[in-house]
């Protein structure tokens, strides 16, 4: 298995596509039973509760993102938050207060099918206890219009492992799918060693990727690194999403993973969310990156 980082242009070239879209799987996907065109939205790393210079507008950024999602037409079929909904705190009561506030703000989303996975800021200090109280399970799968979606948890273990039990579950869950099935996997951390010196990895992520390898149309969407990033492990594409609080530097580009400075001339630059379109006729999800606010 080889890992390769690719930019948007290379990605399009590999996928044989043009325009502002990405294709992750192999072209020529056979029309799946029940498949229909649809799209969903991925939001990530909102870090509700964060205060600091990297985002002086932290108290309103999430609300603005909610308004931008509400303005999408047609509305997405569902919304997925890929972790770090809240900024970590050592105080369990404060953690729950932040989760409650987050839930209240996103309650304004018009789309009511909203799903979540935790990030380490939400779940690593109490092994996901507070997260489960507010948002439910951290590991699950569901089917929607011919696509099998899998949500993994590589943060409730503070050592950033999936663990054998979850790996066994993943294997059993995917075993019900055909090799050509369209599958989308959500995680918070990258499943491959993107930048271990910044803790941008999952200890046993390679085992999960190995389990996924027999599936020809499987794509991973994750967060954690606060920037758009695209990498292949073999035929599997891994797409990192932007944050909604502050951007981080390119993987390993400097000694420390300090947030990029807020630019008052271009507020919210480097932040955003994405639409992911699934077309019934193709196996490859298409990605459209959007800013927090249209002027950004």
């Amino acid at each position: 298995m080889t890992n390769s980082t690719i930019d948007r242009r290379q990605f399009l070239k590999l996928a044989g596509l043009g325009g502002a879209v990405f294709a992750s799987g192999l072209p020529g996907f056979a029309h799946a039973q029940g498949a229909q065109d649809f799209y969903f939205v991925q939001l990530s790393d909102t870090h509700w509760g964060f205060e600091g210079e990297p985002n002086p507008d932290a108290k309103v950024t999430l609300e603005k993102a909610v308004a931008s999602v509400n303005a999408l037409s047609p509305a997405p079929d569902f919304i997925m938050f890929t972790g770090d909904l809240t900024h970590t705190t050592d105080d369990p009561a404060e953690r729950r207060r932040r989760m409650g506030e987050f839930k209240e703000i996103i309650g304004a989303l018009k789309v009511k099918d909203v799903r979540f996975i935790p990030g380490e800021h939400d779940a690593s200090l109490d092994r996901g206890a507070a997260f489960k109280e507010f948002f439910g399970k951290t590991i699950y799968s569901f089917d929607y219009k011919g696509v099998h979606f899998v949500a993994l948890d590589n943060v409730s273990d503070p050592a950033a492992s999936l663990g054998q039990e979850q790996l066994d579950w993943l294997k059993a869950d995917l075993a019900k799918q055909k090799p050509e099935a369209r599958i989308v996997v959500f995680t918070h951390r990258p499943l491959f060693d993107l930048a271990p010196q910044w803790d941008w990895a999952t200890r046993d992520g390679a085992k999960a990727v190995e389990i996924m390898m027999p599936y020809k149309n499987l794509t991973v969407f994750y967060g954690h690194i606060h920037q758009e990033h695209h990498q292949m492990t073999g035929h599997i594409a891994h797409h990192a999403a932007k944050s909604l609080i502050f951007p981080l530097p390119a993987p390993g580009s400097q000694p420390r993973r300090t947030p990029l400075a807020w630019n008052p001339q271009a507020p919210y630059s480097g932040l955003g969310f994405r639409e992911i379109e699934i077309k019934a006729a193709y196996g490859a999800p298409e990605i459209n990156e959007l800013p927090v606010v249209k002027s950004a």
């Binding site: 705190t89 050592d90 050592a159 010196q197 803790d199 000694p255 420390r256």
Partner: protein
Amino acid sequence: MSDRNPNNLARRRALLQGLRFGGAAGVLALGGIGLKALAAPEEVRIKMTVKRFEFSQKELRVKKGVPVVVEIVSEDVPHGFAIPAFKARAEVVMPGKPTEVRFTPDQVGEFQYLCDIFCGSKHEELEGLLIVTA
């Protein structure tokens, strides 16, 4: 002088034995020098502690090719200790229980070590610099 002279034979045997002994001793001596020269450099032991949110040493200086063992113990909660550049990592650093992490730096430069077990609000700042010199 005939070789059949018993004195000469005895002298010759003694000489041979001496040579054999001396040779063996020489080989041993040379071998000893060789082994000493070829032996790995002595391991350097570094003792440190970690707590939320700092390592007792924010900078470690080591020599390329010299094996290092970091003996680390937590003063509060479970932490991690990893030097990804040299694939060195502790499974977990527990409070009050010293953990050893061994590695041999094979390149000079500056490398990060970090806590890779999420330990609290400033976990992401819990890191240090490993400086490897020639």
